[in-house]
C-alpha cells in the first residue's frame, strides 16, 4: 500500500472518530434540551422505571447477597490474624457503600439494562418504527430516549442502595453465624465509620452511572445501522462503551472525593 493511501485512511479514521464524539455530544445536548420541555411523558417514565428497576431486582438481589457473604468470608482471616474480627462489620460497610455497591450495580446494569436498551431501540430503528413515529409527528427522541435516560438515572441509585442493603444483610448472616453478633450490634458497628460524604459520593456516582448507561444505550440503539446485525452491534457496543465510561468516572470521582476527605 502506498504511503499516500495509508495516510488517507488514517485521517479518515480520525475524522470518523471526532465526528462520532461530536454526534454523541449533540445527542446529550438534545437530551438536556428536551428533558425540561413539556409535555412530560410521566406515564412512559414510570413504565420504564418499572422495566428497568423492578425487573432487575432478582439479579441485584443475588449478586448483592453473594458479594456480601463472599467478601465477609474472604476478609475475616486477615482481620482475625490481627485480633480485629470486631472491625469486620465496619470494614465491610465501607467497602460496600464506598466501592462495591455503586460499581457492581453499575456494571451489572450496564450488562443487563444497557444492552437491553441498545437492542430495543436498535430494532426499532432498523424496523423503521422510529421513522414511523417521526412521520406521525411524534417526537421519538422525547418518547424513547428522554424517558429511558430519566428512568436509568433515577433507578440505578435505587438499585445501588438496595444492593448495599442486601450485601450488608448477607454479610450480617455470615457474621452472625461466626461471631454471633446481633442484628442491631452489627448494623451499629457497620454504620459508625460511614460518613455523609461516603453516602453522598455513592449516590452521586450511581446517578452518573445511571445517566451514562441510559445515554450510551439510547445513543447506540437510536443510531443503529441498517440491517439486523446493526441491532446486535448496538447492544454489544452499549455494554462495552458504558463499562469503559463507568471505570473512567469511577477513577475521577474517587480521586475527587479523596481530595475532599483529606481537606
Amino acid at each position: 500500500m502506498s504511503l499516500k493511501k495509508r495516510e488517507h485512511i488514517t485521517t479518515k479514521g480520525l475524522d470518523d472518530y471526532f465526528l462520532g464524539i461530536y454526534n454523541a455530544f449533540k445527542f446529550v445536548r438534545l437530551f438536556f434540551r428536551e428533558v425540561f420541555k413539556p409535555p412530560f411523558e410521566f406515564k412512559e417514565i414510570i413504565r420504564q422505571c418499572y422495566e428497568i428497576g423492578y425487573k432487575s431486582l432478582p439479579l441485584i438481589t443475588l449478586t448483592g447477597f453473594v458479594t456480601g457473604i463472599v467478601f465477609t468470608k474472604q476478609s475475616r482471616p486477615s482481620l482475625v490474624e490481627f485480633g480485629a474480627a470486631s472491625w469486620l462489620p465496619g470494614l465491610i460497610a465501607i467497602a460496600v457503600v464506598r466501592a462495591l455497591a455503586p460499581l457492581v450495580t453499575a456494571l451489572i446494569s450496564a450488562g443487563k439494562i444497557g444492552s437491553n436498551i441498545g437492542a430495543e431501540l436498535g430494532s426499532m430503528r432498523v424496523s423503521e418504527q422510529i421513522d414511523a413515529m417521526e412521520v406521525s409527528a411524534i417526537n421519538p427522541f422525547k418518547f424513547l430516549v428522554v424517558t429511558r435516560v430519566t428512568a436509568t438515572t433515577l433507578m440505578i441509585p435505587v438499585l445501588m442502595m438496595y444492593f448495599a442493603f442486601v450485601g450488608l444483610l448477607g454479610s450480617f448472616l455470615n457474621v452472625n453465624q461466626n461471631e454471633h453478633t446481633s442484628f442491631i450490634a452489627f448494623f451499629q458497628s457497620a454504620f459508625s465509620p460511614i460518613s455523609f460524604l461516603d453516602v453522598f459520593t455513592g449516590l452521586f456516582k450511581s446517578i452518573m452511572y445511571g445517566f451514562t448507561i441510559g445515554m450510551v444505550g439510547c445513543y447506540k440503539g437510536y443510531n443503529a445501522s441498517r440491517g439486523t446485525e446493526g441491532v446486535g452491534k448496538a447492544a454489544n457496543m452499549s455494554v462495552v462503551i458504558s463499562m469503559f465510561l463507568i471505570f473512567i468516572e469511577e477513577i475521577v470521582i474517587v480521586q475527587i472525593s479523596n481530595w475532599i476527605r483529606i481537606a
Binding site: S127, Q129, D131, A132, V135
Partner: protein, 257 residues
Amino acid sequence: MEKLNKSDIIKEQVISIQGLYKSFGENSVLNGIDLTIHKGENVVILGRSGSGKSVLIKIIAGLLKPDKGIVNVLGMDIGSIDEKQLLKLRLKIGFSFQNSALYDSMSVRENLEFPLIRNSRHLTKKEIDHAVEEVLEDVHLHQTINQMPSELSGGQRKRIGIARTLILRPEIMLYDEPTAGLDPITCITINELINEVQERYHTSSIIITHDLTCAKATGDRVAMLLDGRFVAQGNFDEIFNTEEETVKQFYDYNFIN
C-alpha cells in the same frame, strides 16, 4: 416552450419535485428526479430493487434531506422548512412502511391510538375509541384489536399500518411496497383497500411497487424509475406499449416469473 396540459391548470398540485438529487457517500441514488402529483391522484412508481424508491418517498416525508433540488409538498418546501412546520405537514402525510413498522411493544389498539393521543391530547376516551374502531372497520380487521403485532400475518400488519396512518386523516398517502411478500389474493384486497382509501379520504397517493398487477389496479398514472431518474411516465398501457428496452424488460420479467 412546451404547451401546458389543460388538466395541469385545473388540478391542484400536491407534490411537485424538480431536479432532486440524493446520494449516500459515493453511492448516488437519485439523479435528477422530476415528479408532480395532483390532488386525488394515485401515482405508481415502478422500479427495480435498490433504485431509490424508498429514498424518494422518505424525502417527501421529510425523513431524509435532499442534496439538491426542490421538493414541494402541499405548498411547503421540504428543503428549507422549520421543525414546527414540518410537524404540521407530517400530520397531513400518511406513510405505509415497507415492513409495516408496527410498534412491537404495543397491541393493535395501542398502535392505532398512539398517533392520535399524542397529536390531540384533548380527545376523550370515547372519541379515541370511536376513531380506532372506525379505521379498523376501514381496513376490515376489527377482530384483531387486542392482538399484538407479532400475532398478525404480513397482510394484516400492512393493513394495520395503513389504518394507523388513516387515523390522522392524511391528505397524502405514501405506500412503500404495499403488496410485497403477500400472496396474490391478499394483494388484491390490499389493492382494493388502496382504492377505497383514495375514494373515502380523498387522498393523493404515491404507491411504490414492483408488482405490475398492483400498479395496474391502483395507478391512475405510472412512472418508471431507473438509475435514479424517471425514464417513462403515463398511464399503465402507455408505459408498457413503448419500445424502450429497459421498460419492456421490466414488463417481460414480471410476467414470465
